[in-house]
Amino acid sequence: MTRPAMATPSLPLPTLGYRSVTGLFVLIAIVALALSDLAVSALNPWAEMRRLVAGLLRPDLLSIEMMSVVWTVAFAVLGVAIGASAGFLFALVFARLRAVRLLCAFLRSVHELFWALLLIQIAGLSPTTGILAVAIPYSGIFAKVFAEMIEEADLAAERVLPAGTSTIARFAYARIPELAPQFWTYTLYRLECGMRSTLVLGFVGLPTIGFHLDSFFKQGHYAQAAALLLAFYVLIGTRRLWARPATIPILIVVSLLVLPEAIGGGSALANLVRFVTHDIVPTPLRGADLLAVTTWVNAAIWLWPILTQQAAPGVIQTLLLSQVALVAMGAIALVLFPLICRRFAGRAGQLLGRVALVVVRSTPEYMLVYVLLQLLGPSMLPAIIALSLHNGAIVGYLMGRHADALEYRPDAPRGVNLYCYETVPRLYGQFLAYALYRWEIMLRESAIFGILGVATLGYYVDAAISEFRLDVAVVLILVTALLSMTVDAFSRSLRRRLRIDTMPTRLSEAPSGAPIGRAIGEEKLACKA
């Protein structure tokens, strides 16, 4: 399938409204759905599902492997700390240096799991791998977000500084105090994402929670798996209590002290040299005469089948998956958000919504796909379900918060009428901003799910690595990065064109839910007549 919309981002389209964009995406998703493999091949999915639910309802708390939980946190703390520090330095020159912007775009376009698969070749199954797999892509993300915050900062204080003030003093006095709270909020929020990432790293062999989940799920020990997941939810749910600016130094020191020993690998430096000078160099170029024409002809002959037989089908499947999941995500979000909105569901619904969100957003999509694949058999269906549920819940939650912050006129309609005539039309731009922002995130996840057996790009990357053809793996990872950067750029231009590019898109900046400005609704009027 081609992407008709992608071909024409720079042409002036006369009427690009919310409606036409929505219609276009839905149309693409329907075509993609028709082309996708959605078969349920498991023989008896319901029996296994029942065993799963029964196990999840009776978590075996005594079986929790404590060290795996500790290491999950430790890798995340150190990975996020390094990523945030590097990202901060990048952010200082982000606006000025195009090279830094490109580097950061590349770093964040490659998923943590791909970084981990490459790093394992250098540092083995070691803490270094676990920490850097998070730190590298996160530094790219931090750089971009921090740079955006710096750009949007209120510069009133800076303008009154005396003319001769040095750049560093200027920054320290007028910018840092303004920005520090935002930086902290975002970094601590990212710690949560970091823990989800390090959990998943266990599925490729690092000693985090995912490692044990993998074996528990494989053996059908669902009660043990449930206990581990529960521990993880508690960690995420209480994050605000234990991860604060004051506790971060302690967390970092403790994390360093508890790191596990590396397994195998030998000298990392020797491995790194071998990796860079031999492993990832395309086979026809290794030790060949780089000035000879035949060398490059051979390289082209080597590259062509990789692109046509692996990259192309991988790209197509990745796009099919992400386009279907994106639209399904939107539908789920629009149906879910009234359920957590005070106006529609009342206080009880709101509380329930918060709990549901913590559970859904803490459950890594990767693990959800893994479980669903075991239940339903290999096809695109599990990946679509997992991706759309996870992201739909996040966007639904955010939309609910926005809906709570809306002020309606005192004579506004109720129920379905309110939803259709006021709430959705007023929030639709914001909804599209969230959906288009998550598009790129969902694409990256779609590629990764290949490692689990769905035929997306990750499938070919994983196959190449297990055959120890790292040169092929690197080519495929570069293709993935390129695809994700293209979608990111396209999503950005679409948001600009729809004039929704300045709306909030990050989960960390969710509105508080309190109505903005003075309340005028009659329910707010303390009437003592």
């Binding site: 309609p413 005028i520 007549a529």
Partner: protein
């Protein structure tokens, strides 16, 4: 004249902060009341209080035009009657409005001079046009009482007079907050002036002259 609503020693406020004190006010069916006073005096609070009492019978024109900017003018006006149609019909109207509704909304928009904007997005209208669309929604609503919070503040005096005439013609009872003294004197038959949260003047419009009102506008 039968009483429509009666307030006795009523007070109201926001978040514990009192805005209105000791309000004694009876409004009768068929009256055209202009609520006047400087900004912050408590006019909007009084209107909210009356609206809370009369809710089901009121066509409301809130202070900010309160249009859904992403929907067309047609849909914004149609909203005035959402409660009178079954939900499935309202959903259908969102996508494919029936000829009948379009004609009727168009006729209402003609009254406020906006018929040519029928299917334009409300967000593209100017401030004055938005206010007229908001008035059209109340006219289309066709309930017996209209409560309007500065319904013509963004219009010039001639347009304002025209719109006020339409409002008073369509609804039995009108309670309108206003700041334009000549307009109020011309269209209302009773003036209620609020000053610092209390009723400072309550008299038939024909007994009041513009000069009498000047003290309440800080002039």
């Amino acid at each position: 004249m039968p009483a429509l609503v009666e307030l006795r020693k009523a007070s109201a406020g926001y978040g514990g902060l009192p805005v209105l004190h000791d309000i004694d006010l009876t409004i009768n069916i068929g009256e055209r009341v202009a609520v006047m006073g400087r900004s912050g005096a408590g006019k909007s609070t009084l209107l909210n209080l009356l609206h809370a009492r009369l809710a089901e019978r009121v066509a409301l024109i809130p202070q900010a035009a309160a249009l859904v900017k992403t929907l067309s003018v047609f849909h914004n006006v149609y909203m005035g009657r959402l409660d009178r149609h079954p939900t499935w019909y309202n959903l259908r109207t969102l996508a494919w409005p029936a000829r009948r509704e379009v004609t009727e909304v168009e006729r209402t928009l003609e009254l406020v001079g906006l018929a040519d904007k029928l299917f334009e997005r409300a967000g593209t209208l100017s401030g004055g046009q938005q206010q007229r669309a908001s008035v059209a929604r109340a006219l289309y609503n066709e309930r017996p009482i209209v409560i309007g919070d500065e319904p013509v503040s963004a219009l010039d005096r001639r347009q304002g007079a025209e719109i006020l005439g339409k409002l008073c013609g369509r609804h039995d009872t009108a309670i309108l907050a206003m700041h334009d003294i000549p307009l109020a004197l011309a269209h209302a038959d009773r003036l209620v002036v609020i000053d610092e949260g209390r009723i400072a003047l309550d008299a038939p419009a024909r007994t009041v002259t513009a000069v009498d009102l000047v003290p309440y506008y800080g002039g």
